[in-house]
Amino acid sequence: MHVKVRTGLELQVGEPPEMRVGEVKPTSAAAILGRDFPGVKFDVLAEPSKRVRAGEPVLRDRHRPRIVFTAPISGQVASISRGARRALQSIQIVADDAIDGVGFDVPDASNRDSVRKVMCESGLWTSLRTRPYGHIPDPDAEPRVLMITAMDTEPLAPDPVCIISEYPQHFTAGIDALTEVCDAPLFVCRAAGSDVSAVDSDRVQTVEFSGCHPAGLPGTHIHELCPIGFDGSEVWYIGYQDVISLGRLISEGAPWYSRIVSLAGNGVARPRLLEVACGASVDEITRGEMTDDALRVISGSVLSGHAAVGAQAFLGQKHNQVTVIKEPAAGKPGWWRRGGWTVAHAGNTGPLLPTGDMEKVSPPGILPVPLMRALLVGDIDRARDLGALELVEEDLALLTYACPSGNRYGRLLRNVLDQLHKEAS
């Protein structure tokens, strides 16, 4: 099956990274970021200065205690940062010399409950997401469809094919395990013409997507393959590196605590792929790699990533890249184009001018300007009717970039989704 995505935008932010897997960058500090898990209230299980092993739970979902968040490296819990209304920003772990991970009982791979159980215990359950809302799914819930995103169209993203081809057995084992997790059909979404090995099965179907960003976003895939909306059913999705990690958990008894990320952008001397720990310190990843000092460091892509500063200077759970870009000269963006990237807005917002750019970069099937207006005034009913439930922040990143007003539609959408979720539950 082949789907062609017609809207979108190809952004030039620097040299593409050299797509070669192998270089490992050691990590001495890592963190779990609260912002990666919208809607979760955390219970802290490991207080500062406690030593944890990799795979040991450090956080728990207060309302669904089966969902735990595990340490990606072994070491000491260094600090817990909290933001507005004491929401958890990050829990940081500093590595020590001893490398030891928790071993998990290799489950009977053909038993649904045991696979779900070991996924929850190992913290891998938290890499699943739902649409609507983009939350972690309930461990007892059942999706309508499960999607595996094996493509990435974000600017300067790593090529999933060259990462999957390093771990083909783990990827296949991960997909096998996912077929046990639920009874729903599985879709493997890959880029057109890419060589992602798909398992032959009547439950697993491979779908090719072509076009520029947002062709690689799960939101686009869900829109094309299994639209969701008002009947309360969910679609789950998971990234390709998380599938590799799951395959490793099933076949070797421990998840993959590393991720392969691209380090790129116009402020990077040598753009390339690096293997780092999950949630690794971005300062450490970029140390000695930047061409200049006045640079902006972003975990994720320029469109949907977050500025890696302070307590947030760690790799996001869903991020496969670190981007370093040159700051536009202060106050002097070129008159002919947008002044800055998503993460650069100074907070001055202007009026929404509905030029044709909005339709060009809008998620498929969405009327961009009416939705943007509904989000701006906080009209949650209108936003839901216009398809807000199909979207999460990353789907609106291009609109935020294209709209001259400087409004951040991702954040506005999250407010609307939070309210909708509160009303629905």
Partner: protein, 354 residues
Amino acid sequence: MRALISAKGIKVTTVVALIPVLAAAVVNTGYQYLRALDTAGGEGASGWRDSFILGLGVDYQDPTIIGITVAGLAHVAPVLIIAMMAAGVCERAFATQRDRPMDAGFILSAIVFTLLMHPEVSLFHVAFAMMFGIVFGRGVFGGEGKTFLNPALLAAAVVQISFPTAHTGHPLWDGIAGYSGTKIFSLFNESGSGALASSDIGWWDAFIGVQQGMMGTTSTLAIALGGILLMWSRIASWRLVLGHVLGLTLAVSLFSAVGDGGITNLPWYWHAVLGSFAFGVVFVATDPPSAASTDAGRWIQGIVAGGLVVVMRVVNPSHPDSVVTALLMGSILAPLIDYGVVGWNIRQRRRRYG
């Protein structure tokens, strides 16, 4: 792929797109003025503009390019300056009262408004209408991007409705037989297509803009140049522009099918180059905040407003250039059209997703 455009870039690009139109306005107004003066033998030149031009020693019997430019500037510049001052004063007042910086959009409104004016328009009318347009088409709604009407369009409508004689022109200008952008309609109405040939009027003249009319609206060529820039930068929606042309064509073919000769037989390619149609469509109707904001809505608004232009021109020959009125109707209808498109989208989504 070109870069996406900033709010400031939208304004600067639009001004750049207006430069060829302004140049054509200066040259053509000056040329038409000297030609009219020549036809009248220098009689009737008693206004302050005439004193200024003739006082500078411009020779109307043997016009030079400098003479044409001086005569053109003497007509365009005062209107533009007064419009800018009037708009600036209102914008300043709103900015002071609301404690926020002035927005440069009023300059754009003043330029577009000037180009929609007759060369001999009274400067008092200009100042009054421009103030009305900025206050009620922009300021009271909260400024740039928050209004549903184009201030320049509203101001032009105020001049047409409040001072209907202001647009019939100076007697001097009627000296040339049948050769004005609006007079051509009545000519065609009286004696059909033969009138065009007998008055020595060619389509190419009308396209390039060697004819009388509102200052900026005569040269379809200059407007097309600006329009290409605007559509390429996606400020003006090509769907909206094409929609207007489509609506115009549809209405013309409808009228010529049921019509009884005269103006109903004027072909669409004449309608498109006469009067303010081209200018209105490219620079006024496509103004993003006041146009429909969905792609389907843009098509509908274009077809409706383009059709209205022909309906008003044909059914009401006493009001020959109805573009300003028709576009105003289109602008007012745009939110309603969007409302319908959004409702349709919501129904489709509910049906698809259960």
